[in-house]
Symmetry: C2
Subunit: 419 residues, 2 copies
Amino acid sequence: MSELKGAAIFGQSGGPTAVINASAAGVFLEALKQENITAVYGAAHGIRGILEEKFYDMSKEDPYELELLKTTPSSALGSVRYKLKNAEEDETDYKRLLEVFKKYNIRYFFYNGGNDSMDTCNKVSKYMQKVGYECRVMGVPKTIDNDLWGTDHCPGYGSAARYIATSIMEIYHDARVYDQGQITVLEIMGRNAGWLTAAAALAKHAGYGPDLIYLPELPFDMEKFLDEVNDLYRKQKNVIVAVSEGIKDKDGKYISEYGTELAYKDSFGHVQLGGLASTLVNFLKAKTNAKIRGIEFSLLQRCAAHLGSKTDVNEAVLAGEMAVKYAVEGKTDYMVAFERAAGPEYKCNIKLVNLSEVANKEKKVPLEWIDENGTGLKQEFIDYALPLIQGESSPPMVNSLPRFARLKKVLATEPAMCR
Amino acid sequence: MSELKGAAIFGQSGGPTAVINASAAGVFLEALKQENITAVYGAAHGIRGILEEKFYDMSKEDPYELELLKTTPSSALGSVRYKLKNAEEDETDYKRLLEVFKKYNIRYFFYNGGNDSMDTCNKVSKYMQKVGYECRVMGVPKTIDNDLWGTDHCPGYGSAARYIATSIMEIYHDARVYDQGQITVLEIMGRNAGWLTAAAALAKHAGYGPDLIYLPELPFDMEKFLDEVNDLYRKQKNVIVAVSEGIKDKDGKYISEYGTELAYKDSFGHVQLGGLASTLVNFLKAKTNAKIRGIEFSLLQRCAAHLGSKTDVNEAVLAGEMAVKYAVEGKTDYMVAFERAAGPEYKCNIKLVNLSEVANKEKKVPLEWIDENGTGLKQEFIDYALPLIQGESSPPMVNSLPRFARLKKVLATEPAMCR
C-alpha cells in the first residue's frame, strides 16, 4: 500500500438517475475525511468541467447539503455526453487533462457513469499510466439501464425499477375503470437492454402488471404483437402492454422509426417523431376498434427520488465511499462493482473490476429469463430484481414537497502547494 | 329529523382520482355502522350498475380491505360516463332506477363524482321526489380538475396537485443536467379549468418549477408563446413550460387541434393526434434550434396514490362519512362541500350545497390569481393550494410495492323484506 497525497476530483457523466448524487455524497463525504486527500473537487459537467478548469471546492459545502445529495435526483454537478478520442489519434484532451491535474495536484480521479463513462475513465487511466503521472483512477457505476458489464447490477436501476413497478400498479387500476375496455401501451426506457422494461414484471408479480412485456433482447414482430394484443382484448377487454423504447424488428430497424413513414416532415424535411408509444398507438388504432392510450414514462422514471429504493440509495453511497477507500489504499484502474453473495438472503459485496474489461460492453437480460412466448419474465428475473427495489427512500419533506440539496458551487481556485 | 329505514347504494362516476376510493371507504364504513341502513351496496360502474342490477354487497367485504380503499387509487367499483336524459324527454332510465330501488328497498343514494355526476345525482333526486319515492340523495364531490361549483375545493385535487408539484421538482433537476440547454414542455390535465396546471406553481414556489405556466382560463397565442420561450431560452438556456391540455386560441380552437394540419391521417381519414405536448414540441422544433422534450403526465397524475396528500385523503373519507350521517339525519338533495374557515391556520368545515346549484357548473381559476403576463400564478393561488397538499399519504407496502385493497365483489341478491 503506497501513500499518495493530493487532490481528488469527481465527475458525473451520462443520463441522470435518482441516485447518482448518492454516489457523489459517498465520494465527497469519504474523501473529505481522508488525510491523504488534500482537496475535494466536483467537476462541472463531468470531464468537460476538468478540460475547462471549471470545478467546485466541495469542502466549502454545508455537510447537511452533502447529506441531502443522497435523496436529490439527477446530477447535481451537471452531466455530459463527451467521448474522448483515442489518445493515439488525438492527444489534445489528454494533454489538457494532465495539465489541469498537475496544476491542482489531482491524484485521485473518480468518474460516475455507465458504459461510455467507463470508457472515458479507462482512457484517462491508461493515459496517466502511459505518461507516468501517478493518479488513482476509479470508476463508480450508475445507470438506470443496468447494462454495465462486470457487476451484478448498477446503482440507479433499483430506484427506477421501483418507480416503474409502482406506477404501473397504479395505472393498472386506472386503465380498467370503465367497462368498454382499453389497450394501454407503456413506453419504458432502455435502448439496447431490457432491464427497465422487465421491471414491469415486478408489478405483475405483485398482482397488477402488464399482460405483455416486450424487451429489445428479442426481435419485435408487428403482426405477432397485433395478434397477441387482439387475442387478449377479445378475452378480457383490458390489456396493458409494456414496451422497451429500443425494440427492433428482425432486420434491426427500430419500431419507433416505423412512424417515419406516417410522420409529418417539417419545412426542413425533418421527421417529427412522436416516439414508440405513439407509433404503436397509431398502429393499433388503425387495426382495432379499441380505445387505446399510450403512456411514456419519459424522464420521470430516472429522476423519481421520491420513490427511491433504500437498497439502491445505500449501495450508491457505498459505491462512492468504497471507490475512495480503495483508491487511498492504492488501488487504481478499476470500477467498483457488486457481487451477489450466495444464499437465500440478499447481500451484495463490493468487488473491483478492471476498467478495460468494463468499457463499452453491455450486459443484457439473459434470454433464458424471458418466457417461451417472449412476452413475459420468468421467476429468475423476479428473484434477481425484487431485492434491488427493497426499502423506501424519499427526500425529507418541507410543506410536503421534497427538500433537495442546495450546493453553493464555489469554484475551485488554484491551490497553494501545500495544505 | 325523520327516520328512514332501508338500503344504501353508492356509485363512482367520471374519471378516477387517487382518493375516490377514500370517499367510498368513508361511505361504506359509516353506512355499515348505521342502524337505519339495512344493506350497503356498491354499484358496479356507477349508475349503469344500478340500471343493470349489478351491485355488490359491501357487508361481505373484509373491513381491513375497506380500510385499504383509503389508499387505493382509481374507482374500485368501476366508473362510468353516462348522461341521464332529462326525465321530461325520456323516463325509461328513471323508471328502471325506481324499479331497482323498490326491489332492494334502496332509500339512500350516494353518488361520487364531478360536474356531470352531480347532474346525474340531481336528476335522480328530483325524479324520486316527483314520483314520491322517499329516498335520501347525497352527492359526494371528487375531481382532480377541482372545478366543482359550491365547494372550496374537491377531493382528488390535493393529491394530484402534490404529484404534479413533486414530479415537476424532480424533472426540473433532470431537465437541466447537460449544458447545451433544453426546452421542456409539460402537458397537464384540465380541459376547461386550470387548477391542475396551476399546481405547477407550487413547484416553483418550492424553488424548482416551470418558467412559464399557461392555463386554459386565458386565450393562448402561439406567437406570444414562442417569443416568451425564446426569450428565456436565450437568457438561461433551460426553459420549463407547463401547459394545460385545454388551452385554446382566441377563437376558441384547442391548440392540440393545431396538430391536425400536420398529422397523419389513417386509411379511414382519421387524424392521429399526438396530443398537445407533441403539437407544441413540433412547433418549437420547427421554430428554434433548441433541444426540446415533451412530457405528458397522462394517467399518472390522477392515480398516484403513493404520493397522496393526507389532507386530501382525510377530507375524501370525511366527505363520504358526512354524506351518510347527513342523509340518515334526514338531509337529501345536497352535495357535501367544503368551506374554508377564516384565520391563518387551514381548516375546512363541511357544508351542504343544493344539488341543482352544483350540477353542470364549472369553477375556474380566478383571473385575478394569474399574473399580469398570463404565465404564472400569484401568491393568492399558493395560499389557496399549498394547504391542500399537506401531509404524506401512501399505501402500506409489501416488498416495497403498494398493497392495494382487494374486494371480493359479492353480487347483491334481492333482499328479504326485513333484516
